[in-house]
Symmetry: C2
Subunit: 217 residues, 2 copies
C-alpha cells in the first residue's frame, strides 16, 4: 500500500477532512456486516453526498474504486483509519473543568477516536487537587510546568467565555500546538496554531430558530 500520508496530507482541504470520518463510520458499519464492496453511488445515497464529491475526496487519499465493483470495504476502512489517526493516541489537556469540561473527561467515546485526556487544569480551589475518572486536575498556574511532562499537544478549552482568550494564550505559551475551542468565544491565534471551534451553541441557535419558524407556519 502506498504511504498516502506523505503524498497528499499537506494539500487536503478541510471540508474533505471533515467528511472522512463520515465515510469511515459508514464503511466500518458495512465491514461489520461482512459487506465486501461498496460503490460510490451506494455511498452517495447512504451519506447524502454527491458521488463525484466522494470520488474526489478519495482521490486525495489515492483511493481508487474498481469499475463496476466499487471500493473494497476492508481496504477502504483500513486506509481511512490509518489516514485519520483515530487508532493513534493523541494526548490532550482539558482547560477548564466545569460542567462541560468534566463531562468531556467522562466521555470515554473520545478515546476511541484517539484522544487521551491526560489532565485537567482549573482555577477553582474546590476542583484543583481532585480527579475525575482517574484524570488529575491541576491548578492552571502549573500548566506551563506540567505540559511538557504530560506530552500533550492538544488543549481543549471549556472555560467561561471571558476567560477563553486568556487560557488560549497561556496554553500556547506552555507549548500547546492545537486548540479545540468549546466556548462561544472566537479565539485569536497565530498561524502556526491549529484551532477548531465546536460551536455547540451555534447549533442550538439554528435548531431554535428553525423550530420557531416551523411552529409559526
Amino acid at each position: 500500500m502506498v504511504d498516502i500520508r506523505n503524498n497528499n496530507r499537506e494539500m487536503l482541504p478541510e471540508p474533505t477532512l471533515r467528511r472522512l470520518p463520515w465515510y469511515l463510520a459508514y464503511i466500518s458499519m458495512l465491514y461489520s456486516q461482512n459487506v465486501e464492496y461498496v460503490s460510490s453511488t451506494q455511498l452517495s445515497k447512504a451519506l447524502n453526498i454527491d458521488s463525484s464529491q466522494i470520488a474526489k475526496d478519495f482521490s486525495f487519499l489515492n483511493i481508487k474504486g474498481k469499475t463496476r465493483i466499487g471500493y473494497e470495504v476492508k481496504v477502504l476502512e483500513r486506509m481511512l483509519e490509518d489516514f485519520l489517526g483515530f487508532k493513534k493516541g493523541h494526548n490532550a489537556v482539558m482547560i477548564g473543568v466545569g460542567s462541560l469540561g468534566a463531562a468531556l473527561i467522562q466521555d470515554m467515546g473520545l478515546s476511541r477516536y484517539g484522544l487521551n485526556i491526560v489532565a485537567g487544569f482549573d482555577i477553582n480551589p474546590n476542583i484543583v487537587g481532585t480527579s475525575i475518572c482517574g484524570i488529575p486536575i491541576y491548578d492552571m498556574s502549573e500548566l506551563k510546568m506540567r505540559r511538557p511532562l504530560l506530552n500533550a499537544e492538544i488543549g481543549i478549552i471549556a472555560v467561561p467565555v471571558d476567560q477563553a482568550q486568556l487560557v488560549a494564550d497561556a496554553s500556547v505559551e506552555s507549548g500547546i500546538k492545537a486548540l479545540w475551542n468549546f466556548t462561544p468565544s472566537r479565539i485569536k491565534y497565530s498561524d502556526n496554531i491549529v484551532v477548531q471551534n465546536t460551536s455547540i451553541y451555534s447549533h442550538l441557535a439554528v435548531i431554535y430558530n428553525r423550530l420557531d419558524s416551523q411552529n409559526k407556519n
Copy 2:
C-alpha cells in the same frame, strides 16, 4: 422595540445564525464590564469577522448602529438574547445514554442556553430505569408513548453509529421535530425536520491531520 422575530426570522441564513451566539458571547462580556457602546470595527477585531459581515448580520435583525458611536451594548445584548431564544426553555430528550449521552445530560451549561434535557432513552437494561442528575432514563420502546407528555420537540442523538438512522426515524415518528446528531453518521430526513450535526470527530480529524503536517515540517 420592533418585533424582529416576526419580520426576518424566515430568511435568516444559517451562517448568520451560527455567528449570532459569538456576537452575544462577546457583547455579554462587554456588558458585564460596563461598556456602553461598541463599534463594528471593535467587534470585527475581537471576533475576527469582517466588519461589513457584522453589519450585514445585524441588519437581518434590524439592528442599526449609530454613526461614530456604534451599537449600544445593553440593547444589542437584549436583542440578540431575545432573538436567539437562549432564555426560553426548550425541552429535549437524549436518545442514547452511553458515555457521551450521559456526559451531555450532566453538562449543566446547556440549560444556560435554554436546553432542558427532560429524559433519556436507551435500550441497555442496566441503564433503563435509572436516572442521571435527576433525569429519568426510559426504555427506547416507550419514546412514542412518552414524547408528547414530555413536551419535547428536540431529540439529541448519541447512539452507536449503526443505530443512528434507526433511532432518528423512531424519534421523528414519535413527534420529534428537530434532531441534534452527535454521531458521525449522516442521517437522512424529510424536509420538515430540523437537523444539526455536531461532528466532534470531524474536528478531531482536522486537528490530528494539521498537527501531523506541522510535526513533519
